[in-house]
């Protein structure tokens, strides 16, 4: 009996081992090493001496105007993205849980973009924005759209990023809302109906409060994912059309993750990139915790 239990434990840990080992190898250990590197002059080159420089990398990162700019546009992007993804996803979820025909096909269709990788998606949409839109607009005689390409201006390029990531991500978030909407008790709604509540009242007073836990999850997912945006950014806009910021011409759609990667790969300042990554991590954790805390407070339980 006792031996059996021990066996079970061993099997349990053995099955868990591959996942645990890889998690430690590629997440925990690099994170700890990276945290240490952010206080040194680590350069990842063939000169091995490592000197401790204290908070210099952090000071440099905060003085870097591109980092400031990236933080600003990433925040704007995140805000726009959270709103648009959730509004679209919730709308779609209401649509596919209503009594329309072919709702299962719609469900699959809306989810489909999520299975396509972000890099490929970016290239497809690049084609749409650069070739398809001007072509169609041109044949309709809308010269404004053929002369002002969305990806040629940093502001509209950011908007293009929001459109594409909404297209990609709304289906996934929709599925979470669908699950939540299906769990709203029918008897509550019927009771309200008997009491003479209008559809809007039923929606506001029953549906919304009942799906609040889903909001906590979806807001968290969209917040974190928008902040960490990298793949669509890389393939759709790259560093983007340039823009003027604090008297200098700089890259217009370099979101935070890309700014960090470029600090390391183009500026060749790996230690500063590491410091930026730590700042990024802290900011993301703080925002996510705040969001979850406030969302949780608004949840109701039956």
């Amino acid at each position: 009996m006792d031996k059996d239990k021990r066996m079970q434990k061993i099997v349990f840990w053995l099955f868990l081992a591959p996942a645990l080992i890889s998690f430690f190898m590629v997440q925990i250990i690099p994170f700890v090493i990276g945290f240490y590197y952010s206080f040194t002059d680590w350069s990842a080159t063939a000169q091995i001496t490592l000197n401790f420089v204290g908070l210099k990398n952090y000071a440099d990162a905060f003085k870097d105007t591109t980092f400031l700019y990236s933080t600003i546009i990433t925040s704007i992007y995140t805000l726009l993205n959270i709103v648009l993804v959730n509004v679209v996803a919730f709308g779609l979820a209401l649509l596919v849980t209503s009594n329309i025909k072919f709702r299962n096909i719609y469900r699959a269709g809306f989810f489909l973009p999520n299975v396509i990788g972000g890099i490929i998606l970016g290239y497809i949409w690049q084609f749409i924005f650069n070739r398809f839109v001007p072509f169609v607009a041109g044949s309709w005689g809308i010269t404004y759209l053929t002369e002002n390409l969305m990806l040629a201006n940093s502001r509209t390029a950011l908007l293009a990023l929001v459109i594409v990531s909404t297209w990609q991500y709304a289906g996934y978030i929709m599925m979470i809302y669908v699950a939540a909407l299906q769990n709203v008790p029918r008897d509550l709604i019927e009771a309200a109906q008997v009491d003479g509540a209008t559809p809007w009242q039923r929606f506001k007073a029953i549906t919304i409060p009942m799906v609040r836990p889903a909001f906590t999850v979806t807001l968290f997912l969209t917040l974190v994912n928008s902040f960490k945006q990298f793949d669509v950014n890389t393939s759709l806009t790259g560093v983007g059309p340039s823009t003027m910021f604090m008297g200098r011409a700089i890259n217009g759609t370099e979101l935070l993750a890309m700014n960090i990667s470029n600090t390391s790969l183009i500026l060749r300042n790996t230690a500063m990139a590491q410091a930026k990554a730590i700042v990024f991590f802290v900011v993301l954790v703080v925002f996510s915790l705040l969001q979850v805390y406030f969302s949780k407070k608004k949840e109701v339980e039956l």
């Binding site: 066996m7 079970q8 061993i10 099997v11 053995l14 099955f15 081992a17 591959p18 990842a44 080159t45 063939a46 000169q47 591109t66 924005f129 650069n130 001007p134 002369e147 390409l149 990806l151 040629a152 201006n153 806009t237 790259g238 560093v239 983007g240 059309p241 340039s242 823009t243 003027m244 008297g247 200098r248 011409a249 700089i250 890259n251 217009g252 759609t253 470029n262 790969l265 183009i266 500026l267 060749r268």
Partner: protein, 413 residues
């Protein structure tokens, strides 16, 4: 049942560990280079080399917009697997790897080339090939417009030609006069290649006077002014879509499909222009009011040998074989379509633009590549966005000059 499960899990873990153990075998060298377009040819050459000498050469190609050789080498270095031979593209990369780079001064091929990579009198890099760029022109279209390409050698000549061609757009069936790219991802066309006109056009080969002055933050306003007019001229007569959002394919495609008369690229586009039915060649850049007579030619990259590898000698033999053996020469020129950097190689490339580069080079009418004296960060992140601002007409030529001047001053600090 449970025992079987345990056994399987133990075996799985054991196998995954066993996969990491190294094996003993023949001499093997790893060769990492940054030209994906010649990967197939290089693989075939490596196979032929193995058949000839028994030394196995593993070719890995990593370059273009999808793969960064620098990153790959950095992770190789971190894992202790730095290849025997790899490509460096200039002084920045040399500095990064200086600690592991072999001195190749004693190699036989050193006497047969002018473009080896030298540092402090020592030869350290094997020139991959010779490349060049100027303004590539469609000779047939120029003839149709009655413009003699030999007259294209300064700003005014180009201005007159561009105006004439612009007026004949419908007649010639072109979308724009120039095929130029300044969008994101194409900053190497503006911030690297075009930028070099400012640094070396009209100067003796290897003259770093302008470059050094700019590195020190001293901007010659007259030279910059003429250069800025040239940039503006190219942008003004370019197709806006290709200019602001186009990639390499759309830029070269416009020239290939005869939708543009001029192309701002180098002889490496020969591979993309195999189907071209028209004649083409290079003309000098028009970045100054006074006439210039030459195009920009240099070795773009060098192979270096990792001195810490136990197979460093085998790697040197491999490079020598490439220069002096028939198979190696055939690979470089006929198969890979490169312009050889070695005088003993008599085979000539077939690409029309490569031939043009060779013609200019043989006449000694060449200007150097000085842009790599500025860091990649400066060219990509500081200059690129400024060109892009001008291309999208967000700033004027005056502002362009101010921003460039400011960028040089910031860079000198």
């Amino acid at each position: 049942m449970k025992k079987i499960l345990i056994l399987i899990s133990i075996l799985l873990v054991a196998f995954s560990l066993a996969a990491c153990t190294p094996k003993e075998e023949q001499i093997e060298i790893t060769f990492k280079q940054n030209k994906p377009e010649i990967d197939g040819q290089l693989q075939a050459f490596a196979a032929a080399y193995e058949a000839e000498t028994g030394v196995k050469v593993n070719v890995v190609s990593c370059g273009g917009s999808s793969c960064s050789l620098g990153d790959m080498l950095r992770s190789d270095y971190a894992s202790g697997n730095l290849p025997e031979i790899f490509t460096i593209d200039g002084i920045e990369a040399y500095n990064e790897w200086a600690a592991v780079i072999s001195d190749l001064s004693a190699e036989k091929w050193v006497a047969d080339t002018d473009v080896a990579f030298k540092v402090g009198g020592k030869v350290v890099g094997f020139p991959v090939n010779v490349e060049g760029w100027g303004m590539a022109y469609n000779a047939d279209l120029l003839e149709a417009a009655d413009i003699d390409p030999a007259t294209l050698n300064n700003y005014d000549a180009y201005l007159a030609a561009f105006e004439k061609l612009e007026a004949m757009k419908v007649e010639l069936g072109i979308d724009s006069v120039v095929s130029m790219a300044a969008g994101p991802g194409m900053y190497w066309v503006t911030g690297h290649h075009n930028f070099n006109s400012l640094l070396s056009n009209g100067l003796p080969y290897g003259d770093l006077s302008v470059t050094n002055a700019l590195l020190a933050g001293n901007v010659d306003a007259a030279r910059l002014g003429e250069y800025a007019d040239w940039v503006n001229l190219l942008f003004k007569y370019a197709d806006k879509t290709v200019l602001t959002t186009g990639n390499y394919d759309s830029q070269v495609g416009a020239f290939l499909n005869q939708k543009a008369v001029f192309l701002h690229q180098g002889n490496w586009v020969d591979g993309n222009l195999k189907d071209a039915t028209f004649d083409m060649a290079f003309a000098p850049h028009g970045s100054s009011k006074t006439a210039t007579d030459g195009i920009f030619v240099s070795a773009p990259a060098w192979y270096i040998v990792n001195k810490d590898s136990k197979n460093a000698e085998a790697a040197k033999d491999f490079l020598e074989f490439m220069v002096y053996n028939q198979i190696g020469q055939d690979y470089m020129v006929n198969k890979a379509g490169m312009i050889p950097a070695f005088k003993n190689v008599t085979i000539e490339p077939t690409g029309k633009l490569s031939k043009s580069v060779l013609t200019w080079a043989k006449a000694g009418k060449i200007y150097s590549w000085n842009q790599y004296n500025f860091s990649g960060e400066f060219r990509d992140n500081k200059l690129g966005p400024i060109y892009n601002q001008l291309a999208s007409e967000a700033i004027t030529v005056e502002q362009f000059k101010e921003l460039i001047t400011q960028a040089f001053k910031d860079n000198a600090k």
